[in-house]
Amino acid sequence: MSSQKTPYLFGVRHLSPRGAYELVKFLDEKDPDIVLVEGPSDFNEMMADVCREETKPPFAFMAYTRESPIAVSIYPMAVYSPEYQAILWAHRNNKQCRFIDLPSGTFLCIGKEKEDAENEESENDAEPIGVRIKKAVGEETETWWERNIEYTAVDYREAVNEYGKQIRMSDNSRGKYDVAENMVRECYMKRQIEEALKEFSPEKTVVVTGAYHVSGLENCSALTDKEIKTLPSVPSLATLMPYSYYRLSARSGYGAGNNAPQYFEMIWDSLCKGDKEYTSYMYVTKIAEYMRANGGITSSAEVIETIRLAKTLAYMRGSRIPSLSDLRDSVISCIGHGNLSEVSKAFAFNEVGTKIGSLPEGVSRTAMQEDFYIKLKELKLEKYKSMCTQTIELDLRENIHVKTEKYKFIDLRRSFFFNRLGVLGIDFAKNQHKVQSRATWSEVWNLQWTPETEIQIVEAAINGDSVRLATEFVFKQKLEMASSIKEISAVISQACLCGMEDTVNAAVRSLQQFSVDAVSFGELAMSLEQLSNSVKYGSIRYIDTTHFIPVMKQMFYRSCIVLVSSCRCNNDAVRDVISAMSILNAVDTDNDFIDSEEWVKVLCDAALRDDINTKASGYAMSILLERSVFSSEQLSTEVQRRLSKGMPSDLGAAWFEGLSIRNHYTLITRLSLWEKLAEYVDTLDDEEFKRALVFLRRAFSSYSSLEKDQIAENLGEIWGVNAQQVSEVINSAVTEEQQEIIDSLDDFDFGDL
């Protein structure tokens, strides 16, 4: 045997079936005593769990920093990951296996710095490998890879090592920082390899690493102890988590994309079967199966034609086995009748798949998961941990029939728990909003447990160690990021639902700070409404809302100040102003700590001013009428003034429209008002009448026919005619003659109304 000085380097792509297959073959052949795998060296202790029988891929290693801002890195593994197969091989053969890359703490630390650095970097004009491949063969990198490396390459190891070298050569296309990071990683790995070589001979050592690093590892020198000490690091935690193919395809952390995990698994299966063409048959048959299951008519003849076409397409590219793109295009043409839309769902189902990995009970459970399960038990929710949806009804009030303090408020605590899960993005409980929304003590939730939920819980672990802490953290981040009053108010109402008083108070403080800066009238009103609701319904959740009062007072006062200036607007904008006024009035009547006097004063000002939008004035007037600030006499004078001949008739009519929005009955019962209106109409000449008619019609359009009857009665009284006659005229359908007159109005020039 020749005495070899360097260990075997096996370059791989991180998620490559052929790589995994060839690697296992290579390991069988060389039978090393130790396998070194690229992966954070502090993950070593998790290897035992990875090898347990109950562990089903896909799963992922997850590392995250302990302190905010939180950084996460995820290393997903599928059954066809070469690294996973390497670990399994070592376990099967009772050989040693180690991870040799930088510890995750260091990774996370440099990852963060890199982000900052990359923002400053300029575009480099060297061609990335993908562009070069596209130019040379006219195919996308993924397709090229599949065709040439996964299927065709005779010596996989050689081909991949060469590929890695080529990427390295076009390295200029990567950022400077990236290159530096890779250098450090390679020197560190080299050091780990050298450590291993102290115990094992080189011909009994295999290193599994990304193809990119192969030539780097051949040429670099190892880090010294001193250098290792200077590596930056942040405190971090690591765990195993179940993963799903969906996640793998949508956001795999690796640069090596893997858009079709289910399909890649088929490739892995066919390699294990020793029949490379099996993938194509499998894929197209599964597509046909899906189509049939979903109401499509897909004949076996079509399946055969699809495979024939795919093979011909591959053949035109000089390959024997169709690639995914060949298969896809053939399926579209033969099964999908030329339309991608007909088969796109089948594609997604068969390429991405719904597979979700699982881990043995109790393996690497994060503090978050533990807290979650304790809470489930505490709140007697364990029976709801099932795949089918179950409904639970909560009564948030104190249960007086229970003796123990613990269960008196169990439903309330459940509600808090569910709401917190919602904030953390864990879809375990969904609130079924009841029709009777005002009954705040009653809630209905749908509970459903899916494997995806477990993943969401692990992901939520990055925010904190318990459901409560993580929720608090998420709220804190939201508050820090908030850029408008609306966002903060949303946090407040959510935090109230979650029963998190501290967060509520913090949010109220930042709301106060925000409201000092200029904000619009509408926003103020909306926020006040939210706060007011929280005050109103806070008691059922035992949230102390006394902190709200000074802030609400302040905001209310601000609204009073800006009200008049907000009313100087056109007819489109005035609608929002009016709804804000209505909200503020409700806030004022709901909360006795609000300064009503100031509110009334401002309303009076708005009602009597002539330089603001008259509709807003009218509306202010109607609120004041309702609050009995104005008497009937004062109203009649004002009506007379507003509707006098000097006023442009459109302004007058708009004012009347504003006045009549709010409360029809208060108006109907005031006879004097109708007298004035009647007088006013009498004073108009034809032209003005037409102009006013439009507005008046609009004003009365919201009245019911009963109300119109009553108005008719009023007017009948004034004009001295029988009420019934008037009512008939008002409520009757438009005659042809009248229609003509109305039609002629269409041509009437309303100017710039």
Binding site: G138, I297, S299, A301, E302, E305, R308, L309, T312, L313, Y315, M316, D329, S330, S333, C334, G336, H337, G338, N339
Partner: protein, 361 residues
């Protein structure tokens, strides 16, 4: 090439290119084909054969052409579907020209097409005098294609009545036509296939039966996906047309082509290119082919009646004709487009805008 004919079939027009490709053939040639699938692809999407430059015939997604060729290699029939003016017939003609050197075995589908035209018919005088015989048989293009192992083309298949379409079903699956009158049967030679084209948008078309659709590999040809591709297509085709039609006028400038394509794309998509303004769509399709004929038309106008340079007036009247198909609706849409979009476009469109407006006054 100077000729007395209005339009030569593709294989004659591009004879030299086809010869060069055959001369430089390196890959295996399927039975009944004149060149390898790779060379067919090169003939259609362009490239080089030895020293001869092969002009691109179809500009767009090369992959679609690849699928078409692969379909024909597997002896499956090919159905090209797409909006009017997406180069369906064009592609079908060139595929046949490259594969067989003959694109003339065509059946033009109409509402009046009969089953005999797809299978065979008789010379009745002869039939009556001699009785059924080989000589009295009039072979359809499909019949001849089966006999010679080549490709037959069926244009506008969806315009044929359903019964007539159905005649194809057995031909495509059995690959033979029986002639009971002569008690013989014609089996198709290797290399026989059918390329059909259909458009889905026009009025007066018949649904294709599922049975027939199943016998085709279907390729949907899209409208040019981006502005640049469309400009390139129009430019190439207008140059070729101007050459073959002997139009004595200057070629339209790049700017003019770009403006016309902009107007077409905006009205076709129902929004401005930058996506900020919504527009009404016209009743016509406003295809790329229409843009090509519009420009050729303008050149003819300029050459015959003008100073040989396309003027704004020529363009305006051609646009009017292309866009306003349905007088009542389209005219309003076009007027609205002129006022709301074109007017604000500045100097570049000023002249064209004025002329268009005059025509609509």
């Amino acid at each position: 090439m100077a000729t007395e004919f209005q339009r030569l079939p593709a294989e004659q027009l591009y004879q030299e290119e086809i010869d060069a490709l055959i001369a430089n053939e390196k890959d295996p040639v399927p039975t009944g084909w004149k060149m390898s699938p790779k060379s067919v692809l090169k003939y259609i999407v362009g490239g080089k054969a030895g020293k001869k430059v092969i002009t691109p015939k179809y500009i767009g997604n090369d992959r679609l052409v690849e699928i078409c060729i692969a379909t024909l290699v597997t002896d499956r029939a090919l159905l090209l579907i797409g909006d009017p003016g997406t180069a369906k017939s064009w592609l079908s003609e060139h595929l046949c020209a490259a594969i067989n050197g003959d694109s003339t075995k065509v059946i033009q589908g109409t509402a009046g097409t009969t089953e005999e035209q797809i299978k065979y018919s008789w010379n009745y005088a002869m039939l009556i005098s001699q009785g059924p015989s080989e000589q009295a048989l009039i072979k359809s293009p499909v019949y001849r294609a089966m006999e010679s192992g080549t490709i037959a083309r069926l244009e506008e298949i969806s315009r044929c009545a359903s019964e007539v379409q159905d005649a194809l079903i057995s031909i495509l699956s059995e690959k033979r036509i029986s002639v009971p009158e002569l008690s013989t049967e014609l089996p198709a030679k290797k290399g026989f296939s059918v390329i059909a084209t259909a458009n889905t948008r026009d009025k007066g078309v018949n649904e294709m039966s599922a049975a027939l659709r199943r016998r085709f590999n279907i390729v949907v040809l899209p409208a040019p996906s981006d502005m640049q591709t469309e400009i390139e297509i129009v430019k190439t085709r207008v140059e070729q047309l101007a050459g073959s039609l002997d139009i004595q006028a200057e070629l339209p400038s790049d700017k003019v082509i770009e403006n016309i394509i902009t107007i077409f794309r905006e009205l076709r998509d129902g929004q401005t290119l930058d996506g900020t303004q919504k527009l009404k769509q016209t009743s016509g399709v406003l295809s790329t082919a229409e843009a090509i004929s519009l420009l050729a038309n303008s050149m003819a106008l300029a050459g015959s009646f003008g100073n040989g340079k396309i003027s704004d007036y020529d363009l305006a009247s051609a646009l009017q004709g292309a866009i306003v198909k349905d007088e009542a609706k389209d005219a309003d849409i076009w007027k609205e487009y002129l006022e709301n979009v074109m007017k604000g476009r500045g100097e570049e469109y000023r002249g064209l805008y004025k002329k268009c407006k005059e025509l609509n006054a």
